[in-house]
Symmetry: C2
């Protein structure tokens, strides 16, 4: 049903994904009649892609403001519940949602359970940087963590980033308020010691100002801090854009300058746009789930399909389980 | 000694402040001979402002990477120690430092102690927003907090913001990962309940994406989260600037556009530049202290002087003590 913007964009995203990847089948989740008519509109009659597109009836949706735990308990026929049910019954390999992310996580855990050795599944997300994108985990699922949880995030994100970004042994940074080992809150200091003694490719602490430098492949933090970092970034980007627009429209000279510079702005926007990164994988669940931004456009949803396919084809979950077992041994 | 960039900029900042504010006297802290020769260079002979400029010899400095607690214990003659000593002996009213902020806080507490009723002094900082600047506290002094500490931050920042921004009853937001009362980590949920039941002008939770909207006057968070929010913002602004510059210099068309748009960029930069906000007040110490960014320019340091003067002349500390007493009653 496509988060804030309804089912049109997921359908367009599905069309894009089916066009580009031949071995893909997509199941749309939502009220059957509504999806059918919109599919007919967007795909047109006789589209060759229609044979790889299916619809699974799911009459309920979970709103953005609903309590995840309650909604998941009450709405058995919500799109996200039906989706993870398909995965549980091996009728689908993964689920993509641009809806309520807490409910998506809750539904995934309820329907699929956790991978062996995982205490708390979390959400990993790619951030654009000056170099290659960095994977940050957790960005909101676990607000109160113990060092054990952060260590598991490090193992999981390392396995996932290694596969999605084809990096041999990803470097892992620990988000803190100073680079030295002794800097940070109690959670971070303790986690730092354990990571330093462990077998992962631990880079050390990274500060907030290092997030966008791209010196590490993975950054680990608790879900409260990760969510603040993500949302502050979105808010700043949005506010800066508004302020800059206001200054530019003040004079004719600047307006003309803007016309000449517009393409550079567009390239810049594309470089930092989350649509290019294709959503945030749930890591630690016994299956594949991708959470997309509530305002995701068709491209973002299409890319989320490719991320999910990449994770499934390259067996990220098997890699995570193996890495956790090795790490614990 | 001026943080990363040496004493030249503080001296230029002092000159600017002395020019604009007639009832001001400034004491420079550092190695006497070095400061004397640099003052002569910048002020010139016979400057009328020289009679309101003094030098207090302080031969030691504390490096940015030194452990604050150790440095403060060992370096009795560091600029910052000498500065707060002057305040203790009523020879100065406040201290401004662009050096090691942990050491500045440690020196302030050691030399001046805390205000009555304050468990943990903290650092408040102004962030630019789409509307008026918002004061965020704490931005790094207290990494592990209990609800009691956040409540005291709320009382202190409210009193300070009320005076510095001349607002009657500042609205206070609590930084969390969702607007609803039940969203956040354990610390935030408990603090939310107490703030809601209390007498402050509590707005409710604000999310990271709301920080730059400017809907509240004050935002409260623990120092770990506040520091991450601040540094992530600085890092993003810096990275976005670099990426945008790289895109603009790719084509002649965009370069010409940039020439036309340059002034709009400059106005935008000025609007978000921390130099305009004049440093971050230490709140909760029995005296006045302002921490400036390590790379502060002369304007930032000049503005920090005005913030300190404003706090002293309008008795922020008396207001804080009174508000804490009233709140506790």
């Amino acid at each position: 049903m496509g988060g804030d913007l309804g089912p049109e964009l997921p359908i367009r995203g599905a069309l894009g994904a089916l066009e580009k990847k031949q071995n893909l089948e997509i199941i749309l989740l939502g009220p059957e009649e509504r999806l059918k008519s919109q599919v007919a509109e967007i795909f047109g009659n006789g589209s060759p892609f229609l044979q790889r597109l299916h619809i699974e009836h799911a009459p309920e949706t979970i709103g953005m403001d609903e309590s995840p735990v309650e909604a998941v308990r009450r709405k058995k026929n919500a799109t996200i519940m039906v989706g993870f049910d398909l995965v549980r019954h091996k009728k689908a390999d993964g689920v993509i949602s641009a809806g309520n992310s807490g409910a998506t996580m809750a539904a995934a855990i309820r329907k699929l359970g956790r991978l062996k050795g995982v205490s708390r599944p979390g959400i990993a997300s790619f951030f654009p940087t000056l170099k290659k994108p960095v994977m940050i985990m957790d960005i909101g699922a676990n607000v109160d963590c113990r060092p054990k949880h952060l260590l598991q995030f490090a193992v999981m994100a390392s396995s996932c980033s290694s596969i999605l970004n084809t990096i041999d042994n990803p470097t892992i940074g620990l988000l803190s308020i100073g680079e030295e080992a002794g800097k940070g809150n109690a959670l971070v200091k303790e986690t730092h010691e354990i990571l330093r003694a462990g077998s992962l490719n631990f880079y050390g602490n990274v500060e907030g100002r290092d997030v966008y430098k791209g010196d590490v492949d993975v950054i680990i933090c608790d879900g409260f801090v990760g969510n603040v970092a993500l949302k502050v970034s979105e808010g700043l980007a949005d506010a800066a854009g508004q302020m800059l627009r206001a200054e530019i429209t003040k004079t004719w000279r600047a307006k003309i300058g803007y016309l000449l510079i517009k393409k550079a702005f567009a390239r810049f926007k594309q470089r930092v746009d989350y649509s290019e990164y294709g959503g945030a994988p749930l890591l630690g669940i016994n299956g594949t789930g991708i959470i997309c931004h509530g305002t995701s456009d068709a491209l973002a949803l299409e890319n989320a399909v490719f991320v999910a396919a990449d994770m499934i084809e390259n067996k990220v979950n098997a890699a995570i389980t193996q890495a956790l077992t090795a790490y614990n041994a």
